[in-house]
């Protein structure tokens, strides 16, 4: 990476409150993305060699995961404990909780298995808010068109329309569960919801709770799930493989219990994958804003069992990840800052992009500044300034009142957000594509649903701020309701990993190695080896922090 302008020099040039114009002749969006977005370029994708999407372009690290062998074989699951349920939800974030709550409300018996702990997810980390077109100056149509445009018209219009139409009802559902939202004034009855405008939208449509909307949402959903007698929560239980019957239908899953260090089989009438994204694979060597468990597990398992995927070469890099200090790299400064009016400034003290453009455009512009020597360099870290001091000058008190998390974050970085700008650079944030689904969240494999970030088709090639929280609840509830209809129905007599054997043949025919295994379950730096942990490999026993009981 080329050097930038030394921080001291850039800082001396910076003036809070300075009047800075936007560039007179901005680079056309298509050109900017092509030249600087990580989705583009000669090494940005490879064609898949096996599976339903053979020949389709895929991000190289994702391709490596998708074209890997299973973690287990028949012998590992012979005679292990087995459970049966109506609905198995895999993943304990917002999408999984919405699915579990809805399925249980319809009388289905639900097991929710999660790799870490219920609620540990990207949902809890969401700051900015959730989109729902409630304003008098807004409409479902505007929300629909904004979403399609931001996604470069690659999203599925019918799925988008359904999600957008669900928006206001999702907000009502959340309020009924006890979630709070910011109001324009302090009138809970008959007042108006506080609305913010996301980058790339044509009306103010972001509803929020402070700048920790995801935390507020997740603590309510987690409590609701925990108190719901129809849902059994299995913490620390990652799924390592799906089960299939003789007709290729999804019949359940193989789960690894990290606490007991053993495999468990769950046979289910319907399986809902809500495993989230892939940030912790650090694609293209980017830092990530994602939580620790975001390792594309659901994507890998769905593909191996025969589900079609889409937009696998498209990821979102959030423009404003922390660049300095390095130990906080990847952490997010919420879009709420730019949404409220914070500007981006390069090493020459200039603005270089309309900050309220969609995320892919703003991120590409920052990467361009850094690549062309106008970035700011501090202790080896390269980025641009996010101008929070001018924001505070223009709207005194905003940092203390509305951008609480941002202020805390500045403190962790060692500065006062009202005095010093942040040094920011794009961070891997979101998987735009995923498992192709229909309007109920059903994948191409019978009995297998997929919702939330692991699914694809709702955001095209770029997601708008606030549409992820809407997506997970809209689709989570729909998949939960549909899956619950299977309650009490006939359950296949056979359940095994026949699809894995077919997959291994395919890999061999394509000349791919069988020793590369997936899903990863934990980031490479977690130092976790499933086979060693389960006692299936000779050698030193695995160590687990906090696992000494």
């Amino acid at each position: 990476m080329p050097g930038g302008i030394p921080y001291e020099q850039a800082r001396a040039r910076y003036r809070a409150g300075a009047d800075l114009p936007l560039p007179a002749a901005p680079t056309p969006v298509a050109e900017l993305l092509k030249a600087h977005h990580p989705d583009h370029g000669p090494n940005a994708h490879v064609p898949l060699a096996v599976g339903v999407n053979r020949g389709d372009p895929c991000q190289p690290e994702i391709a490596r995961q998708l074209q890997a062998n299973a973690l287990i074989d028949d012998v590992d699951i012979a005679g292990v404990e087995m459970h049966t349920t109506d609905v198995l939800v895999i993943g304990g974030g917002g999408a999984g909780c919405a699915a579990a709550l809805t399925a249980a409300a319809q009388g289905a018996q639900v097991i929710l298995a999660t790799k870490l702990r219920l609620g540990d997810s990207n949902t809890v980390m969401a700051e900015g808010g959730i989109q729902a077109a409630v304003g008098a100056d807004d409409s479902l149509q505007l929300h629909f068109e904004d979403t399609l445009r931001a996604g470069h018209f690659r999203a599925e219009p019918e799925l988008v329309a359904q999600m957008v139409r669900d928006g206001p009802d999702v907000i009502r559902w959340l309020i009924r569960l006890g979630m709070s939202f910011d109001l324009e004034d302090d009138r809970p009855i008959g007042g108006k919801l506080l609305r913010k405008k996301p980058g790339g939208a044509s009306a103010a449509r972001i509803l929020s709770y402070r700048d920790y909307t995801g935390l507020e949402m997740m603590r309510v959903l987690r409590e609701a799930v925990d108190l719901e007698p129809g849902v059994a929560v299995w913490n620390r239980c990652p799924v390592v493989e799906l089960l299939s019957d003789e007709r290729g239908r999804c019949a359940g899953a193989v789960i690894y219990n990290l606490e007991w260090r053993c495999f468990v089989l769950v046979r289910a009438r319907a399986v809902i994958l809500a495993t989230g994204g892939a940030g912790r694979l650090h694609l293209n060597r980017f830092p990530t804003s994602n939580h620790y468990g975001a390792t594309a597990d659901g994507l890998v398992l769905a593909y191996r069992s025969g589900a079609r995927l889409r937009e696998l070469d498209s990821f979102q890099y959030h423009p404003t990840g922390i660049a300095y200090p390095s130990h906080l790299a990847g952490g997010l400064v919420s879009e709420a800052a730019r949404s409220a009016g914070a500007r981006l400034i390069n090493g020459h003290g200039e603005r270089f992009i309309d900050e309220l453009q969609p995320r892919d455009v703003v991120a590409s512009a920052i990467l361009r500044e850094c690549a062309e020597g106008r970035g700011i360099e501090r202790a080896g870290q390269l980025g641009v300034f996010l101008d929070t001091p001018s924001l505070e000058l223009a709207q005194p008190g905003i940092l203390a009142k509305r951008l609480v998390t941002l202020r805390h974050l500045a403190h962790k970085c060692g500065h006062d957000a009202a005095e010093e700008p942040f040094l920011v650079t794009p961070t891997l944030h979101y998987q735009n594509g995923g498992v192709a689904i229909d309007k109920d969240g059903a994948s191409g494999v019978a009995g297998l649903f997929c919702v939330g970030e692991a699914s694809g088709g709702l955001h095209g090639r770029n997601r708008l701020m606030g549409n992820a929280l809407l997506d997970i609840l809209s689709m989570g509830r729909r998949a939960g309701a549909k899956a619950a209809q299977s309650a009490g129905s006939w359950i296949s007599g056979r359940a095994g990993i026949g699809h894995v054997h077919a997959w291994q043949r395919e890999l061999t025919l394509a000349g791919l190695p069988l020793h590369v295994k997936a899903p990863l379950l934990f980031p490479s730096y977690a130092h976790f080896d499933l086979r060693a942990d389960a006692g299936l490999r000779a050698g030193t026993p695995a160590r687990t922090i906090g696992g000494v009981r």
Partner: protein, 214 residues
């Protein structure tokens, strides 16, 4: 970069200064598959640790992702737990909001037994005035109580600390949920819901704005 030596789960490790406890674990090659979630944002409440600093006697509870390491620090993870006895309620079944005070007492009967020991305040890694929040809820000052728990990340450390089994963070969340579910009725949301449900507002799938330009 300077190195710092400390002990995590009884194991001596070394990591670069300015690392958080979680980063130190990972950088030192330890296996880390529990007690971790958001990895730095401090919102998931999973990485609960007990920390004793060099030369000190006091053991503090903190979040490992937010706590920088120090020379000679001793760290032990606090496992999550699931309790056999719970304060069970369904937010949909809370009924008449005139009964709000009575419901607090019914669902959280222990809250009135607060000994004012301050254990919850000491345990809170976010520095919330937990005990005050509990007392306000018991006194019926529900709005004030809810504000105390506004930034709670549900790490459950106060619940672990309370000798009366009050489960303060769950009480706080109960009050916050009850207030939202009972009082939040935004006019713009109600109007838009009515427009959608009556069929007055619809989406035109093939409108010009839904197609790529040109």
């Amino acid at each position: 970069m300077d190195r710092v030596r400390l002990s995590i789960e009884g194991r001596a490790i070394e990591a670069p200064a300015a690392s958080s406890i979680l980063q130190a674990c990972v950088l030192a090659g330890q296996t880390l598959v529990e007690g971790v979630g958001c990895m730095g944002q401090g919102v998931c409440g999973s990485c609960r640790v007990m920390v004793r600093r060099a030369g000190g006697r006091e053991v503090r509870t903190q979040l490992a992702c937010e706590t920088p390491i120090e020379e000679g620090m001793q760290v032990a993870f606090v496992d999550y737990f699931s309790e056999s006895v719970r304060h069970v309620y369904r937010i949909e079944d809370l009924g008449d909001s005139w009964d709000a005070l009575r419901r607090v007492g019914e669902v959280f009967p222990e809250a009135a037994h607060c000994r004012h020991c301050g254990g919850c305040d000491t345990a809170c890694p976010k520095g919330l005035e937990v005990q005050k929040g509990v007392n306000l809820a018991v006194d019926g000052e529900l709005s004030a109580a809810s504000r105390v728990f506004d930034e709670c990340v549900m790490c459950n450390l106060c619940t672990l600390a309370c000798p009366e089994h009050i489960r303060p963070n769950h009480l706080g969340l109960f009050v916050r949920r009850m207030i939202a579910a009972h009082t939040l009725r935004p006019s713009d949301l109600m109007r838009r819901l009515a427009e959608i449900e009556s069929g007055e507002m619809t989406i035109v799938l093939d409108a010009p704005g839904a197609r790529p330009p040109g």
